[in-house]
C-alpha cells in the first residue's frame, strides 16, 4: 500500500517534470519604432530679374534717312540689327513661350512645396501618435498585479 503511494507520488512528480521540461520560456519581443528626423532643406530664392530696356526702330523706305540720322546723333555704331515683321513676331512668341515655361516651373515648385509641407504635418502627427501608443504600452506593462486589479 505504502509502496504504491510512493510510486504514484513519484510518477506524478516525474510527469510534471517531463511536461515542464518539454516547454521553453517564450522569447520576449523587442519592437523599436523610433522616428527619424529628416533634415530640413532650406534653399535660397532665385535672384530677382531687373531687365534692361530695349529700344526698337521701325525702318521703312520713307523714314530710313530720319532713323539713320537719329542713330548718328546718338553716337552709337552705324549698324542696325534688323528683323522682319515675321522675325519680330517669332521673337515675341518665343519670349512668351519662355515666360509660360517659367510660370509652369514656378507652379511645379509650388506644388512640391505644398505637398511636402502637408506630408511633413502628416508624418509629425503619425509619429506623435506612435510615441503616445508606446508610452501607453510602457505604462501598462509597468503596472503590477494590484494595479491591474484596480483597473
Amino acid at each position: 500500500m505504502v509502496n504504491r503511494s510512493i510510486v504514484n507520488a513519484l510518477g506524478c512528480l516525474l510527469t510534471i517534470v517531463l511536461i515542464s521540461g518539454c516547454s521553453s520560456m517564450p522569447k520576449q519581443i523587442e519592437v523599436s519604432a523610433k522616428p527619424l528626423d529628416k533634415p530640413k532643406l532650406v534653399l535660397p530664392n532665385a535672384d530677382e530679374l531687373d531687365l534692361r530696356s530695349v529700344e526698337w526702330y521701325i525702318v521703312t523706305i520713307e523714314n530710313w534717312e530720319e532713323q539713320y540720322e537719329k542713330l548718328v546723333a546718338s553716337g552709337r555704331s552705324l549698324a542696325f540689327f534688323s528683323l522682319t515683321d515675321k522675325g519680330y513676331e517669332n521673337l515675341g512668341l518665343n519670349i512668351s513661350d519662355l515666360r509660360a515655361y517659367i510660370q509652369q516651373q514656378n507652379a511645379i515648385i509650388g506644388a512640391y512645396d505644398a505637398y511636402y509641407l502637408k506630408s511633413e504635418e502628416t508624418f509629425d502627427k503619425a509619429n506623435a501618435e506612435a510615441e503616445e501608443a508606446f508610452e501607453e504600452q510602457t505604462k501598462e506593462s509597468e503596472k503590477g498585479f494590484f494595479g491591474r486589479l484596480i483597473d
Binding site: V2, S5, I6, A9, L10, C12, L13, I16, V17, S20, M25, P26, Q28, I29, E30, V31, A33, N45, D47, E48, L49, D50, L51, R52, S53, V54, W56, Y57, I58, V59, T60, E62, N63, T84, D85, K86, Y88, E89, G92, L93, S96, R99, A100, I102, Q103, Q104, A107, I108, A111, A114, Y115, K118, S119, T122, F123, K125, A126, A130, E140, S141
Partner: protein, 153 residues
C-alpha cells in the same frame, strides 16, 4: 513503520510543493512575457495602421497637387496663346509700313511691359502704379493674369 511512512510522505509533500511553487512561478513569468508581447504586438499593429493611413493621406495630397498643377498648366497655356491671337488679328508688317512712328512706340512699350512680366514672375516688388492698378490691363497689358494672382495673395 508509521513514523517512517510519515517522514517519507512529508519529504514527498515538500518536494511536490516545491515543484508546484516552481511550476507556478514559471507559469506566471511566462504569462507576463506573453502579455508584454501581446501589448507590443498590438502597438506595432496600431503603428502599422497609422502608417498606412498616413500613406493614404499622402497619396490623396499628391493627387490633389497633380490636379491643381494640371489646372494651372491649362491656364498658363491659355495665357500664352494671347499674344499669338493678337498677332494673328493684325498685319504688323503692313501697319509698321504705314505708321512706323506709332508702331515703334507700341512695340517699345510692349517690350518694356513684357520684360516687367519676367521681373514680376521672378519676385520683384510691385511699383506704386502696379499696386494701384484696378484691373489686369492697367496692371500690365502683356500679362494681365498676374494681377489676379497678386490680388489673391
Amino acid at each position: 513503520m508509521g513514523t517512517k511512512l510519515a517522514g517519507i510522505m512529508a519529504v514527498v509533500t515538500f518536494i511536490v510543493c516545491g515543484l508546484f511553487y516552481w511550476y507556478y512561478s514559471d507559469t506566471q513569468e511566462r504569462l507576463a512575457i506573453l502579455n508584454s508581447n501581446n501589448a507590443k504586438l498590438e502597438t506595432a499593429v496600431q503603428i502599422s495602421e497609422e502608417a498606412v493611413e498616413s500613406l493614404q493621406a499622402d497619396y490623396e495630397k499628391a493627387n490633389e497637387q497633380v490636379n491643381i498643377l494640371n489646372e494651372e498648366f491649362a491656364s498658363i497655356r491659355k495665357q500664352n496663346r494671347v499674344l499669338s491671337d493678337k498677332l494673328g488679328r493684325h498685319d504688323l508688317g503692313n501697319l509698321a509700313e504705314k505708321k512706323p512712328g506709332l508702331v515703334q512706340k507700341v512695340i517699345i512699350k510692349a517690350s518694356d511691359k513684357a520684360n516687367r512680366c519676367f521681373e514680376i514672375i521672378s519676385g520683384s516688388d510691385l511699383t506704386e502704379k502696379e499696386m494701384e492698378a484696378t484691373n489686369g490691363k492697367s496692371f500690365n497689358s502683356e500679362c494681365p493674369w498676374l494681377f489676379t494672382d497678386n490680388s489673391t495673395d
